[in-house]
């Protein structure tokens, strides 16, 4: 499957195994995962619950450490990385979660602009310009100073999308971003994500159950019982 894609993939996984617990309690959830995601690609991870797709996402997102095998993300070897490396990788990734998890005590604008704390090289004025621009392009231009409590579910998830994208990440990881939304807003969010990612040629790896959004994918990886079952 990697043969058709250009060299130096953004994600490169080789024989990755992962398990929880040790000894008698050891429970392996990922078996021999080998896959790549190239720059600009949109890849969906599907499969029944318990198939290990979210766990794989947390490994790629440098939130958990690989137990066995090799995993390279954004040219960093995560299987042998330190905590500092982990934090560095996370800063180059845009995360979108099932729950928006916006800080409830800060406005949409503040939530998004907060991300520039991790990028001190961006000036303050530049940061607020980028923030306003991006929030406007996700259709929240008139909601900049609203607290999350006053936004609808779809609007909150769009703020979360803006937050993930505002600092120009090199990779977007999304975990069922549409799960908490009705079909219409879910579709909107995904389309938005697709457009923004395409414009910036930023690859997306998205875990989803939602059959309505499969059409945006360049590739669909289907997982079952911790193994890659099929690639479409």
């Amino acid at each position: 499957m990697t043969d058709t894609l250009p060299a130096s993939p953004v994600i490169s996984s080789r024989h990755v195994n992962f398990w929880f617990g040790e000894g008698d309690l050891k429970k392996q959830v990922l078996f021999d995962i080998t896959m790549d995601v190239a720059a600009g690609e949109i890849v969906l991870l599907t499969g029944p619950s318990g198939s290990g797709k979210t766990t794989l996402l947390t490994l790629i997102g440098a939130l958990r450490k690989v137990r066995d095998g090799e995993l390279e993300v954004l040219s960093r070897h995560l299987h042998s990385a330190t905590m500092d490396d982990f934090v560095q990788v996370r800063r180059e990734i845009g995360f979108i979660f099932q729950q928006h998890n916006l800080l409830p005590f800060m406005t949409a604008r503040q939530n998004v602009e907060l991300m520039f704390q991790l990028h001190p090289e961006v000036s303050r004025s530049e940061a607020s310009r980028l923030t306003a621009e991006l929030l406007t392009s996700v259709g929240l231009g008139d909601r900049l100073d609203y607290h999350p409590a006053r936004l609808s579910g779809g609007q909150k998830q769009r703020v979360a999308v803006a937050r993930a994208l505002v600092t120009g990440p090199s990779l977007i990881l999304a975990d069922e971003p549409t799960a908490a939304l009705d079909s219409h807003s879910g579709r909107d969010v995904v389309t938005l994500l697709q457009e923004l990612a395409r414009n910036r040629s930023c690859p997306i790896l998205m875990v989803t159950h939602d059959p309505r959004i499969l059409d945006i994918a360049d590739r669909i990886i289907n997982m079952e019982d911790g193994r890659i079952h099929a690639v479409e």
């Binding site: 979210t54 939130l63 800063r91 998890n101 409830p104 005590f105 602009e113 991790l118």
Partner: protein, 384 residues
């Protein structure tokens, strides 16, 4: 941009009620600490007030005397020996005792501190006593301390109105001729000043040959410590010579050893500290607990523990500041109330203000340190 400090401020100020409660906790803590420490200092100051009023360069006390409020007497003749030193300019004697003053209105007796002293040259800072020198030489004439407690009745008003007041002290009828303002202490509810001769009239058991305190004024320009050492052999084992500073120090030491001031008021201040600590900890802990998913999300997005720790510590520091200043003002008010209520002087010192401010920062900082342990457990992998 949104540094951890501003994020902390947004988090705290988002819920105004919670902010008010947390600040109120710190206000109470600050107020308690300032008031308790202030009263402790006030009580200490007041109890050494008599020693501080001595203006003589050297004092002579009995070697048995631990505090001048319960002094042992020593032979007066020892004082006369000291006159042979050319460094000694003037020698005075003082008799002290606890008398019983009968309130002329309700006919009850109250203890009162009595000082028998040369009214022409008391070598004590008793403002205005010299004016009454001539009158105090007359038999059974006594000067009242206008700052005495109200136990003794409306003496000052009476003196203003009628000039004199006849009262009973130690079962003897004496005449109060006027009042001067000196001040009371935890050892004395009121003070009476009189000549040594009148003192002995009211204390028929006491002999003029045994005095409580010798007061010595030295020639200008001599070092009291040097002279003290030179004079030591004049009095031998029968009396002890001290400089004025030594007297004050030994009185402070006595009070701290014998009255549980440090313990009682230190305990009060500690309770204040603990209250503030618990309130701030509770607030910070619930803030952290309620926002665990958000904190974990921030971690997943690349914020390190240090950033989150700064957020929590900043909240603690903001609470310190919001609580300190109102607490400080309230303490000032309470000092005034206490001063009026118990007629002892309580005042704020810069050192105490700074010390309590530092304590407040420590208090909130400690709360933050403990609440922070929870932040560290925010696992970014749990966000998914």
């Amino acid at each position: 941009m949104y540094s951890s400090f501003f994020v902390a401020w947004y988090q705290l100020s988002h819920n105004k009620v919670k902010l008010a409660v947390a600040s109120a906790g710190v206000v109470v803590a600050v107020m308690l600490m300032l008031v308790q420490l202030g009263i402790r200092q006030g009580a200490l100051d007041n109890s050494v007030a008599v020693a501080r009023r001595v203006t003589a360069d050297l004092v002579v006390v009995s070697p048995r005397t631990k505090t001048i409020f319960a002094s042992a007497q020593f032979p007066r003749r020892l004082l006369y020996r000291l006159g042979s030193s050319e460094d000694v300019e003037e020698i005075g004697e003082m008799y002290m005792g606890q008398g019983r003053f009968r309130n002329p209105w309700n006919k009850l007796e109250f203890p009162v501190s009595m000082y028998g002293i040369n009214p022409h040259s008391p070598m004590m800072n008793l403002p205005g006593i010299e004016r009454f020198g001539k009158q105090l030489e007359l038999t059974d004439r006594v000067l009242f301390d206008g700052l005495s407690r109200t136990n003794y009745g409306p003496v000052v008003e009476q003196l203003k109105e009628h000039g004199t007041l006849d009262v009973e002290v130690n079962l003897r009828k004496v005449r109060l001729i006027d009042s001067i303002e000196v001040g009371i202490s935890i050892n004395a509810d009121g003070n009476l000043f009189m000549s040594p001769a009148n003192f002995l009239r009211m204390f028929p058991d006491r002999k003029s040959g045994s005095v409580d305190l010798g007061l010595i004024r030295l020639r200008k320009g001599v070092n009291p410590e040097v002279v003290r050492d030179q004079l030591r052999h004049y009095v031998g084992q029968e009396a002890k010579l001290m400089t004025r500073d030594q007297l004050v120090d030994s009185e402070i030491l006595f009070i701290r050893e014998n009255a549980p001031l440090d313990f009682i008021f230190g305990m009060g201040a500690a309770v204040g500290f603990f209250i503030g600590f618990v309130v701030v900890y509770q607030i910070l802990y619930t803030e952290v607990t309620n926002h665990m998913p958000q904190y974990a999300t921030l971690k997943a997005m690349g914020f390190n523990d240090f950033y989150l720790l700064r957020m929590v510590v900043s909240q603690a520091m903001i609470l310190s500041l919001l609580g300190y200043f109102p607490g400080f003002l309230m303490a000032l008010g309470l000092y005034r109330v206490a001063t009026n209520a118990i007629q002892m002087q309580f005042s704020m010192t810069a050192a105490r203000a700074v010390a309590v401010f530092v304590l407040t920062l420590v208090m909130c900082g400690l709360s933050a340190m403990i609440a922070i342990r929870k932040v560290r457990t925010a696992d970014p992998a749990d966000v998914f």
